[in-house]
């Protein structure tokens, strides 16, 4: 979800207005993904590095997220969307928001229409370190550690490999996002800033992805099938 601040700057608006516009875009994309049958959608809402932003901006973002969670919880539930947060255990997240997040996750836990993961305070390296710690604590002998076993120790281990990463705003970096899961991901780089990125550009990105032929390195050749994988926006 890149480009909220740039978008606001270009329009001569305060940063917060950019974040608000970004929220609208996120809701738009969630609806579009659900309607075309995407099963896993991940939004990179807030990275572990974002904690270094100015205090009042962080505070505003927290309020914004809480507002979205509260306001849209029942709508998301009604759409059969399972919601969860990657990284939300961070103690810097206000207690009330953490409680709302827990309530939202609990409420939607059994939904199967689509899994929406909000990467919130997430960092890919942090997750890898977490997995390593968990492995060591479980006392697995070094020889027994396989890729599958390692993956099972990552946070939200049922998340499948990411099929498509959509990085908006013309950025071309990974930015510490789900480092393990993006190993075989396809990437698209639409030029739109996130607030301008709604259902239309999202569907174009899916279309571009569906034309690619995926090889997974040495794995057997498959043709990408649009709406199956995890999508990063």
């Amino acid at each position: 979800m890149d480009g909220n601040r740039r978008w606001a700057e270009r329009k001569g608006l305060p940063d917060n207005a950019g974040h608000r516009a970004g929220r609208a875009a996120a809701l738009d994309v969630i609806d579009a993904a659900r309607s075309v049958g995407v099963r896993w959608l991940t939004l990179f809402a807030f990275s572990s590095e974002n904690w270094q932003r100015p205090g009042d901006e962080v505070e505003f973002l927290m309020r914004l997220v809480q507002h979205v969670v509260r306001r849209h919880a029942l709508a998301l539930h009604a759409k059969d969307i399972r919601c969860r947060f990657l990284g939300a255990a961070d103690p810097r997240i206000p207690t009330a928001l953490r409680r709302d997040i827990a309530d939202l996750e609990n409420l939607t836990r059994d939904n199967r229409g689509m899994t929406l993961t909000a990467a919130f305070g997430h960092g890919g390296r942090g997750d890898l370190v977490e997995a390593a710690r968990s492995l060591i604590r479980s006392g697995v002998p070094a020889d027994a550690v396989t890729e599958e076993l390692f993956a099972a120790h990552l946070p939200l281990p049922d998340t499948p490999d990411v099929d498509l990463v959509i990085r908006t705003s013309g950025e071309h970096r990974i930015s510490n996002f789900m480092l393990w899961q993006v190993a075989y991901a396809e990437w698209v780089f639409p030029p739109e800033l996130w607030p301008d990125f709604g259902a239309g550009p999202f569907l174009q990105s899916l279309d571009a992805y569906s034309r690619r032929r995926r090889r997974f390195g040495a794995r057997p050749q498959t043709t990408a099938n649009v709406p199956t994988g995890a999508n990063l926006v």
Partner: protein, 472 residues
């Protein structure tokens, strides 16, 4: 009033108002006010299952009021007599050493007064205020209700104009912040009890309960008279007034919650302003309520999914003790616990005095049997450890007799079998009249008593008997 001819319908307005959805809120509100009267609080603390089985109790109250308002005078008289018998059994000594009785005229008048005022408040809060004439009529109907119970109606002021000073005086001089007030507000309202199985019917009641926890406590506190709030130092959380008015205006919480489940847009439009904090609070409360509700439904589901034909594992003794036997929730089992079960059976079956006495006697005989076997230290109550130690080898004659008595009173048409309808009357859940395991054919005495004995003595799970004893 008393000069109304007996043949005419004496309660037209009350029946209409008690049929409104928001009346459930009024009953809860009245319950708080009643619990604040010391002698009622003492009785609630000792005798009542209000804290452990709040929804069952609330349901019984509302069912009882419905019977007291029945158009058939015979039904009304029977209910009044039943209530009087029930109240006569409630006697004891409060924590302050003062004796209490369920027949205390001041307490009974206060129950009526608080119910009347809460009904008036319900209409005020919903923006459909009762005018003075309607209030007078309603007051006369409530006075009639009190005199139907056989109480001296003069304990309430004769005229509505004097009622309000009396009410204020009660609020500012008699009421206290009792434990029972907290029990109602924080046990009844702050924890959402596991609702009965709501899969099939999303009734208004289900919805009321689904968000009762977070919203109703605040709604109730906000709706209480300010005099009372100040006296007992109940804080009214910020914004609760708006929430309260919203709840009452929406004809109760159900009206808010139901459209939400089917059409999220309605909710979005309900409080729609950019980053509005009040809206956020409402949505937060809804989210918490909905989350608690799904947890409760999830917890309830496995019971229905249990495969038939398999002999399920018995409940652990400790769990059975806490959930089934200890009806008053004080951590021990004694006569008031089993009397609560007798009361529940009698109320559900609407028994006459003789049969009710049979039920009480049978429960009491079972209590003596249990106490003789389990009360090893002779302190008059059975502790959980005492039950756990001796429960696998219990004598049963009194329990078998109890099962037979229950069969006889449930078999109202003396057909020798219990029909689905009779079974449902005894073993439905709180507000729901659905039974997961309604028998598909009439139940003979052997099958009925076996199920009861398996449950009570063998602690074998029984969906139906759990309903009577534990749920709601």
């Amino acid at each position: 009033m008393s000069d109304t001819p007996r043949s005419a319908d004496p309660f037209p307005l009350m029946r209409e108002l008690s049929g409104e959805l928001g009346w459930a809120l009024a009953v809860v509100r009245a319950a708080v006010l009643q619990a604040a009267l010391p002698q009622i609080a003492a009785a609630l603390g000792d005798q009542s299952t209000f804290v452990t089985h709040p929804w069952r109790r609330l349901h019984n109250t509302m069912a009882s009021v419905r019977r007291q308002l029945d158009e058939d005078p015979e039904v009304r008289e029977r209910e009044a007599a039943r209530l009087n018998r029930l109240h006569a059994r409630i006697t004891g000594v409060g924590p302050d050493g003062a004796p209490y009785s369920g027949l205390d005229p001041e307490a009974r008048a206060w129950v009526i007064a608080s119910l009347f005022e809460s009904t008036v408040a319900m209409r005020r809060n919903s923006g459909r205020r009762l005018d003075w004439a309607a209030q007078e009529q309603l007051y006369a109907e409530f006075q009639r209700m009190l005199s139907d119970l056989g109480d001296e109606p003069t304990i309430l002021p004769a005229e509505l104009a004097q009622f309000w000073p009396y009410y204020e005086r009660m609020l500012s001089e008699r009421l206290e912040h009792t434990d029972a007030v907290d029990a109602v507000l924080y046990r009844l309202l702050d924890t959402v009890p596991a609702p009965p199985l709501l899969r099939d019917q999303r009734t208004a009641w289900a919805a009321v309960r689904s968000i009762a926890g977070p919203v109703a406590a605040r709604v109730t506190v906000a709706s209480l008279p300010p005099t009372f709030r100040e006296r007992v130092r109940l804080e009214n959380p910020v914004l609760s007034d708006a929430l309260m008015v919203g709840a009452y205006r929406g004809s109760g919480l159900a009206a808010i919650a139901l459209p939400v489940l089917s059409n999220p847009r309605t909710l979005a439009n309900f409080v729609d302003a950019e980053d509005d904090q009040p809206g956020s609070a409402v949505f937060g409360a809804l989210l918490r309520g909905a989350s608690a509700f799904t947890s409760a439904v999830r917890a309830a589901r496995p019971q229905t999914a249990s495969a038939p034909g398999r002999d399920p594992a018995p409940w652990p003794a400790q769990q059975f003790f806490t959930h089934v036997l200890d009806q008053t929730g004080d951590g021990t089992v004694s006569w008031p616990d089993l009397a609560a079960l007798a009361r529940e059976v009698a109320a559900r079956l609407d028994l006459d005095a003789d049969r009710e006495a049979d039920v009480y006697a049978a429960f009491h005989a079972w209590w003596r049997e249990l106490a003789a076997a389990l009360d090893t230290d002779g302190d008059g109550v059975i502790a959980s450890q005492e039950y756990a130690a001796g429960s696998s080898n219990l004598p049963a004659p009194a329990l078998v007799h109890l099962a037979e008595v229950l069969f006889d009173v449930t078999d109202t048409d003396h057909s020798g079998t219990i029909s689905a309808q009779e079974y449902r009357k005894l073993l439905h859940t709180g507000f729901s009249h659905e039974l997961a395991t309604a028998p598909d054919k009439n139940l003979g005495k052997a099958a009925f008593t076996t199920e009861f004995l398996h449950f009570m003595a063998g602690r074998r799970p029984s969906a139906a008997w759990s309903r009577l004893t534990t749920e709601a």
